[in-house]
């Protein structure tokens, strides 16, 4: 029996509308055979968490450009806890200064992919880690 496809929810939470990065990663992950739940821009952490539950995803992926990643990822982390989603892989990409990577990881982000990370690096990371903690 073929292995079940990795399921990924992708979205941008907050006000920023720069969606080139997240649409690009959606294309590459889907070319790599993953199932994408694409939520688009102007989402809330709560809506992303709800989608993660309803769609039974393995991976939650967020993208940021507007220098608001720290407060918004904190909101996401709270929603992950509230919805018992801690076994899902949480990845963040976009405009992330290096020093903030550690801050995000302390909040529970598994992988951080700052802008101009090759798509192949993101795809491989997600493929290899998607279900590591999955209950």
């Amino acid at each position: 029996m073929a292995e079940q496809k990795i399921r990924v929810v992708l979205g941008k939470i907050g006000l920023d509308g720069h969606d080139r990065g997240i649409r690009m990663i959606a294309t590459w992950l889907s070319k790599a055979g993953m199932e994408i739940v694409y939520m688009g821009t102007h989402q809330t952490a709560e809506r992303v968490a709800r989608a993660a539950v309803e769609e039974d995803v393995d991976v939650i992926g967020l993208s940021f450009q507007g220098a608001d990643h720290i407060p918004l990822v904190r909101m996401m982390a709270e929603q992950i806890k509230a919805n018992d989603l801690e076994d899902r892989l949480l990845v963040v990409g976009g405009n992330i200064p290096r020093r903030d990577i550690e801050v995000l990881k302390e909040m529970g982000v598994d992988g951080v992919f700052p802008s101009a990370t090759p798509m192949s690096v993101c795809v491989n990371y997600i493929r290899n880690n998607a279900r590591k903690r999955r209950k």
């Binding site: 907050g14 509308g17 220098a67 200064p97 090759p118």
Partner: protein, 572 residues
């Protein structure tokens, strides 16, 4: 070491096309320009079709405006930065707003949490505009106030009243946004707000097109009313700025950057001339913002071709005869998208090449991106280096001495013809669909953008496109520089105080006056009153905020008060 350095010895250029994919020959000769009719399609600078520049003496007549983008955490910090840059030789300003202001919600809106003062300055009240402009002479400073907040223009006019500066002396651009649906809709503010008019795409649903077109009709009338006011009263203003830069930043090529934004301008002209305005009343008041990417020669050619395409279309299609209409005036931002996070200091070189292209291309105004552009609104250090980059170009390099120094190059003239042809083709395609709004709504623009960026990304993955420090000549992440100043850039205490002050301001103002002003504006919008601007000025005086004014403007055209769907109109 040796294997690598040996193979590099024999390296040759693999490039056979421009950044945008136009094929390039190994060499160009007189044969490539044998059919160029100098008098007809090139002409001297200052002569139709202005291929070589819009003025006969170009920078000997006036240097370009040196205009760095500025937007710090609060209006006061922004004002300090502006004065700092002016004291170091900047002669024009450009203010960028934070995300909540761009979406036209207040800093105390629940959705604004975490975004206030981060990627620009918050503008929620008239006082914010006044604070930003404090001690900056309105009549001597060319000011770009991109109309993110509906308070911008009315507050600026009230400030002029307050200081006793006549409207005819104000040098402002970009204060009214042409309400055609535009490609930036896909970028700034995303699909939420069509052209910063606060049209919530997510809220309009299946009847989207109908609502959009009704809203657009009303906004276009308002735009024309405001334009008429400015034409009559503000001789030195360039109220409408069409932004091709944002289009280019999405990853499309030089041809689309110009052609899409021209198509958008032409659509606006069609609507305005149908209203009875004369093209030569409108077009002289229009300017553009373009990008300058890394491919220097292609960019120079783009600016040359753009001037010719503009002049020809204005003359042949719109029947314009006034040179002030036929001259394409533009500001250039060196491309933000070419600035990389890796080895950030080398971005100074990229920005300098972009700036060189803009000046060789005959720009009227220039913004050089800070070397920290990939992660931040420029820090003071980055902004200073960017300004110095402009000054080295202006005062040291000598490129200012002669107009269109690359004109007559076999390559440049040949590529200018090619690019002119391509731009016209794209304009014709879009107009064949019914215009730029249709092309956005039917998904054509979005599909073209996606196609372009996927192609670029694939080429980067395959190393068919090299970016130094990104996919070649890389260094380990932990050896790379982090931009220290970025981490100290947002003063969270000041931002917090700004939000608290705003709440206090709203609590203590006269609610009766605020309500009366908002109600009056709402009725003015509903009844399509030609003097909406006056009602907005009254709102400013009554202490109404960005979110409130934008909200009643939305209600006036039949949209919900809050674009995020969480706040109620406070005065019901």
């Amino acid at each position: 070491m040796n294997q690598n350095s040996r193979s590099r010895y024999f390296e040759k250029s693999e490039r056979n096309e421009t950044w945008s994919g136009i094929p390039v020959e190994t060499v160009y000769t007189p044969d490539d320009v044998s059919d160029v009719d100098y008098a007809k399609t090139v002409a001297d600078p200052g002569q139709y079709p202005y291929t070589r520049g819009i003025y006969d003496d170009m920078y000997r007549g006036r240097l370009w405006s040196r205009r760095q983008i500025t937007g710090c955490s609060t209006p006061k910090l922004t004002n300090e930065r502006l004065k700092y840059l002016i004291s170091h030789g900047e002669n024009a300003i450009n203010v960028i707003c934070d995300q909540p202001t761009q979406i036209q919600i207040d800093s105390d809106h629940p959705w604004a949490e975490g975004s206030v003062g981060r990627a620009g300055v918050p503008v929620t009240t008239m006082q914010d505009v006044w604070t930003i402009m404090d001690e900056i002479p309105l009549d001597e400073t060319s000011t770009m106030l991109t109309a993110h907040s509906p308070l911008t223009l009315p507050s600026y006019l009230l400030l002029a009243d307050h200081q006793g500066v006549p409207y005819s002396e104000l040098r402002v651009s970009g204060v009214v946004t042409p309400p055609t649906v535009s490609a930036p809709v896909c970028l700034y503010g995303g699909r939420l707000s069509a052209d910063q008019q606060g049209i919530p795409w997510t809220a309009v649903g299946a009847e989207g097109d109908d609502i959009l077109s009704s809203v657009q009709h009303k906004r276009m009338k308002e735009f024309a009313d405001k334009l008429e006011f400015i034409i009559k009263n503000c001789d030195k203003m360039y109220p409408a700025n069409f932004n091709g830069y944002i289009i280019r930043e999405t990853g499309v090529g030089a041809v689309e950057e110009v052609a899409w934004e021209f198509a958008r301008a032409f659509e606006a002209f069609d609507m305005l001339t149908k209203r009875g305005l004369d093209i030569d009343q409108i077009a002289p008041k229009v300017s553009f913002t373009f990008s300058a990417m890394i491919d220097i020669l292609e960019e120079v050619v783009k600016f040359r071709a753009a001037r010719r395409v503009w002049a020809r279309n204005l003359k042949e299609r719109f029947g314009s005869t006034d040179p002030r209409s036929l001259r394409l005036k533009f500001h250039v931002n060196t491309a933000g998208v070419m600035m990389e996070r890796q080895q950030p200091v080398i971005n100074i070189i990229r920005a300098a090449y972009g700036a060189l292209a803009a000046v060789l291309g005959g720009t009227q105004s220039l913004q050089v991106a800070g070397y920290d552009e990939a992660i931040a609104i420029p820090t003071e250090e980055a902004a200073t280096i960017a300004l110095r980059t402009q000054q080295i170009l202006a005062y040291e390099t000598g490129v200012t001495a002669t107009a269109d120094p690359l004109g007559g190059s076999y390559f440049v003239e040949s590529l200018t013809d090619k690019m002119d042809e391509e731009m016209q083709k794209v304009i014709d395609t879009i107009e064949g669909m019914g215009g730029m709004s249709t092309a956005v709504i039917n998904g054509y623009i979005d599909r073209e953008m996606e196609k372009a960026w996927l192609k670029v990304q694939q080429e980067l993955e395959d190393k068919k496109r090299i970016i130094v420090g990104v996919n070649e000549f890389t260094i380990p992440e932990d050896e790379d520089a982090d931009i220290e100043a970025y981490h100290h850039q947002v003063d969270f205490d000041l931002v917090h105080r700004y939000i608290e002050d705003l709440k206090e301001f709203k609590r203590t103002r006269s609610q009766t006056e605020a309500k009366a002003a908002l109600e009056a504006l709402r009725h003015a919008v509903e009844s399509e009153d030609p003097e909406i601007l006056c009602f907005e000025m009254e709102c400013c005086k009554a202490g109404c905020t960005t979110g409130e004014v934008a909200g009643v403007r939305r209600m006036g055209v039949g949209l919900p008060y809050d674009p995020m769907g969480v706040l109620e109109y406070p005065f019901d």
